[in-house]
């Protein structure tokens, strides 16, 4: 008998896990709340560190998940736990009896409006990293018209307790460096500044793009968080930060400021978590069972987690996490789930 597996979230984690589980012979049902599969990846133009088109990556993920039963525009209405399985009522009226549920609800981008001092949504020339990607994809944005000076404010909604997000979002430094290069490619005469607190370029090739940004594109990296943004009479921006390396306050007039909005736990993911009474940690991301050694099981038997639902991750990390989750689901469905007699004991011992 084929087990039903419900995967919540049609982003990279959900797609990759669907593909893997389908290959293992399971009956996979994938639901996605938005009309389109791909999550944030579908909105991105190019990916760090080597600037591959996001569409290419998404294309291969979608091809991998071909044949998976997929409902877009669909959310979870209610979940009931049966003895071992879950009875899930979807918003499209369908009810699924699922033996395992994989929550791949991903992340939300930090709402940059909350950092009031940066004036996103108030000043004409302030945009976010996502807006810039959209510009790269569509080629048009009223804010971008031959900007002479462009700034990137790192850590917007990351490492900011007052904004309710203490943790690092992991991907923004590399994204900022990538976008700084891309902006320089689009506007070679522009001066580009990156305001950072620490450059967390930990991954493979990340340091290379940092060096490239400096060496080939002359991007200026200023160590200091953007503290205040105001609008000048001519609509340009007055940006203030401290150059902590020089130990002096600094100001600069910019034509465009790009806010590197960080990762926050997905709000709709949280809603589903509430239905399941899933445990959430202080940072807002779902708690995992077994700590760092086993990161794909939730504390509730039969509920699995993958991707950014359990904290900020890069795309390769998300995909690896999804594959690992698929393995975990398979292990559960072959070793624990079928044994009706000892199920509870097995769960106690091995979940």
């Amino acid at each position: 008998m084929k087990n039903n597996i419900l995967i919540i979230g049609g982003g990279p984690a959900g797609l990759e896990a669907s593909a893997q589980l389908q290959r293992m012979g399971y009956n996979v049902i994938l639901i996605e709340k938005s009309p389109k599969l791909g999550g944030h990846l579908a909105k991105w133009d190019r990916l760090f560190p080597d600037s591959v088109p996001a569409d290419e990556v998404l294309g291969s993920l979608l091809r991998g998940a071909e044949g998976v039963k997929c409902f877009t525009d669909t959310d979870v209405r209610a979940i009931n736990r049966l003895d071992k399985s879950y009875n899930v009522r979807l918003t499209n009226g369908i009810t699924v009896l699922s033996d395992a549920v994989l929550v791949a609800s991903g992340f939300d981008l930090f709402d940059a409006v909350k950092k009031e001092e940066y004036g996103y949504g108030i000043y004409d020339q302030v945009m976010t990293n996502a807006d810039l990607e959209a510009y790269f994809k569509t080629g048009s944005d009223p804010r971008i018209e031959h900007p002479g000076r462009i700034g990137f404010a790192h850590c917007v909604g990351s490492r900011d307790e007052k904004a309710g997000c203490r943790s690092c979002s992991k991907v923004c430094c590399a994204t900022a460096v990538k976008q700084a290069i891309e902006v320089k490619q689009a506007f070679p005469k522009a001066e580009v500044y990156c305001f950072y607190m620490d450059l967390r370029l930990f991954g493979r090739h990340y340091e290379d793009i940092y060096l490239k940004a400096q060496k080939e594109y002359g991007v200026r990296f200023i160590r200091g968080r953007v503290a205040e943004v105001s609008e000048n009479y001519d609509g340009t921006l007055l940006v203030k930060a401290e150059d902590t390396v020089a130990g002096k306050p600094l100001k600069v007039t910019l034509d465009l400021l790009v806010l590197m909005a960080g990762m926050r736990p997905s709000a709709s993911g949280k809603a589903i978590g509430d239905l399941l009474e899933m445990q959430v940690e202080e940072d807002g991301y779902f708690a995992v069972r077994g700590g760092i050694a086993a990161g794909q099981r939730s504390p509730i038997p039969g509920i699995f987690l993958a991707g950014a639902a359990t904290g900020p991750k890069t795309l390769p990390e998300t995909l690896a996490d999804a594959r690992a989750a698929a393995m975990e689901v398979d292990r559960y469905l072959t070793e624990i789930f079928p044994d009706a007699k000892n199920y509870k004991q097995l769960v106690k011992e091995r979940w």
Partner: protein
Amino acid sequence: MVDFGFTLVPSSRINLDLFDKEKYEELVSMEPDVRICMACGSCTAVCTAGKFVHTSLREAMEDIFNAKTDNALESLRACQLCGKCAMVCPRGINTRHLIMSITKVYSKK
């Protein structure tokens, strides 16, 4: 003018709008390595002259970016070009040539 016994205090703020792009480009064409510093401070730490007086290539580069070029020259006046900084620079910056190039470009008014 009335003397009130106090007056406007000059700002210590860095104003990047004063950055002289032309001169900087001249420097870059002379020694492109000025772009790749990551402000680790190794050069300053090993500096032979720095044992006696305040000398810092790292600061000088920062000062150039921050439109305080006179400070940059000041930071390098005591340099003996011994090359220790070149030996320790993790990015392999050609420090000696950079120091001379900075002096060359920014000491002509």
